[in-house]
């Protein structure tokens, strides 16, 4: 509880600071640009009677971070430090939050960029190293590689032993579609709303993949305007909420289930043959990609990675995919997504709305899984009943939400282990959110 209050308290303080200094609208941006244009000649042309050494010092001062810092930069640095704090102190997704937090620090070091001057430093400045690395995010290269690693490290035997729990993974995807509607109601364009909606899938790579296709700042809307670039806010929101799964989910789980329901014991999973494990990625790939071909980059790689693991004859490839390769991509993805939150581009009203919608969609997705599991129990009896907590793992934050289910299950009954059962909706949630991303892409792309 103390942990919850600490996290919520820090986030509220940062949000209030953010709201106080947020860019109100596009008009304000225009005024800022005008002001910059007026200011730039002063920098470029020092006074004629000024001594050259003073001119050099002045120029150096103009280039330092202290001269160029804004309250937005400082606010974002505080958020980066919060991420690092959460990762180290509370162990919330440290593999993600440390690279993202550091990326936020790197992306928000203020530097001279008046009048569009290109020092080739920032992530949005062409020719900079960060810009080259950001290419993988912009073009959706990193997410399929993450999925390859995910496939190579996931054991689907829990899913194969009790396949009916897969449906819970579908139920939890309600978060995606309701958030899509919510974003439309708040005035986002349909492609932007689709990209925002996918936060409800609780799957970082999928969120990046879809936002890089739908809300990339390049595509044109039917009215001729350009779609907003929301990759940064969506990715940060998705990964932040994934890291905060242990904070967000338990209150919803306790609210929607009774102590008696939380103590329900489920039948132990059966053992699964090697042939079944080999057939799963092949059948899964063919079935899902025939129905939703747009999700092929994600699901194709997921099932390919799993086949590398389960075939038993490509151990070296599977080992590389699940260790070195996924680690490298995670570092690059985390760092560049973090760095993409450059204050002058990231701190907007839209970003704040995305964060609010993301939190709501996580709660809806969790509730969707829980309520559906309770609904299934109406038709099941005896040993076949499902512990509704397992439904909460339908959000595809693998394996965090399954771990949260296990912890909550143990709190209700210290001898009731739900981890293996929760892994089924968890991994099927990954498949479900990738399919949902494919559907949104085919409708809105």
């Amino acid at each position: 509880m103390r942990r919850f209050i600490t996290v919520v308290g820090i986030i509220s303080i940062l949000s209030l600071t953010w709201m106080a200094f947020i860019k109100p609208s596009a008009d304000q941006q225009v005024t800022d640009t005008l002001r910059v244009e007026q200011k730039s000649p002063v920098i470029d042309s020092p006074g004629e009677d000024e001594a050259p050494e003073f001119s050099g010092i002045k120029k150096f001062w103009e280039y330092t971070g202290f001269r160029n810092a804004t309250i937005g930069h400082l606010g974002m640095i505080a958020i980066g430090l919060l991420f690092i704090f959460l990762a180290i102190k509370y162990d919330y997704e440290p593999l993600l939050l440390i690279p993202i937090g550091t990326g936020i620090l790197i992306g928000n070091i203020p530097f001279f960029q008046d009048g569009g001057f290109n020092l080739q430093l920032g992530i949005y400045q062409s020719g900079s190293v960060l810009n080259y690395l950001y290419f993988g995010v912009l073009k959706g290269v990193y997410p399929p590689l993450i999925f390859l690693g995910l496939g190579a490290m996931t054991d689907f035997s829990s899913l194969l032993s009790n396949p009916r729990l897969m449906i819970l993974g579908a139920a939890a995807q309600i978060g995606i579609f309701l958030t899509f509607l919510g974003a439309l109601l708040l005035g986002f364009a349909p492609p932007e709303a689709g990209a925002i909606g996918i936060i409800g899938g609780a799957d970082g790579p999928t969120a990046i993949f879809l936002s890089s296709r739908l809300a990339n700042g390049i595509n044109l809307l039917p009215d001729g305007t350009t779609v907003a670039n929301l990759i940064g806010p969506i990715a940060i929101a998705a990964y932040s909420y994934m890291a905060l799964v242990p904070v967000i989910q338990p209150p919803v789980m306790r609210l929607l289930t009774t102590p008696k329901e939380r103590r329900i014991r489920m039948k132990p999973p059966r053992s699964v043959s090697r042939l079944e494990k080999i057939l799963f990625p092949i059948i899964g790939l063919l079935l899902t990609s025939f129905i939703s071909p747009s999700s092929l980059p994600l699901l194709g790689m997921l099932f390919f990675g799993n086949l590398l693991k389960e075939s038993g004859v490509t151990k070296r490839l599977a080992e590389t995919a699940r260790t070195s390769m996924v680690d490298i991509v995670t570092i690059l993805l985390g760092l560049t997504v973090g760095a993409s939150t450059q204050a002058d581009i990231f701190l907007t009203r839209e970003s704040l709305l995305i964060f609010v919608l993301g939190a709501i969609s996580f709660v809806i997705a969790t509730a969707g899984g829980l309520i559906f599991a309770k609904g299934m129990n109406l038709f099941l009896k005896g040993d076949n009943r499902i512990n509704p907590l397992v439904g909460a793992a339908g959000v595809s934050a693998v394996p965090d939400s399954a771990r949260v289910v296990q912890i909550e299950g143990l709190k209700a009954d210290p001898t009731n282990h739900l981890l293996m059962h929760a892994m089924t909706p968890n991994v099927s949630g990954v498949i479900g959110s990738a399919v949902a991303a494919g559907i949104l892409l085919s409708f809105l792309g």
């Binding site: 579908a170 309600i174 579609f177 309701l178 439309l184 132990p268 059948i283 079935l287 293996m420 479900g432």
Partner: protein
């Protein structure tokens, strides 16, 4: 599911968005339900047929134990029992004690007389 459409439209959202939500959610369900059906009914049936054909080839009837599926817990219990059995085998010793003679051949490198300085008397 389609009955939600009027509510979505009442909320002031475009009809197409409503269609995306309804169709999209149904497709997600369809994919996972199809996977469920394949792995719950089709594959087990395929395995059962395979077992029957093998038994028929060997000219015997299928045993019930062959059709029953063991849970992971049963497997774990069997594995633990086997592990304990083999680890306990260590207690049965042969009771023959052999002392192996360790001999080192002489070498001037380990000789003590060369380690000390020969002081003149």
């Amino acid at each position: 599911m389609l009955s939600f459409l009027p509510f979505i439209m009442l909320a002031g959202i475009d009809r197409q968005a409503g269609v995306i939500v309804v169709i999209g959610y149904l497709i997600v369900f369809l994919v996972l339900v199809l996977l469920y059906l394949v792995f719950r009914y089709v594959l087990p049936l395929f395995f059962k047929i395979k077992l029957y054909r093998r038994a028929a080839k060997e000219g015997r009837a299928l045993d019930d134990s062959e059709l029953n599926v063991m849970t992971g817990e049963v497997n774990a219990a069997i594995a633990t029992a086997i592990y304990l059995y083999f680890s306990e085998l260590h207690d049965e010793e042969s009771n023959i004690i052999t002392i192996r003679k360790v001999s080192r051949s002489y070498s001037p490198w380990n000789s003590k007389i060369y380690n000390m300085r020969n002081l003149q008397r």
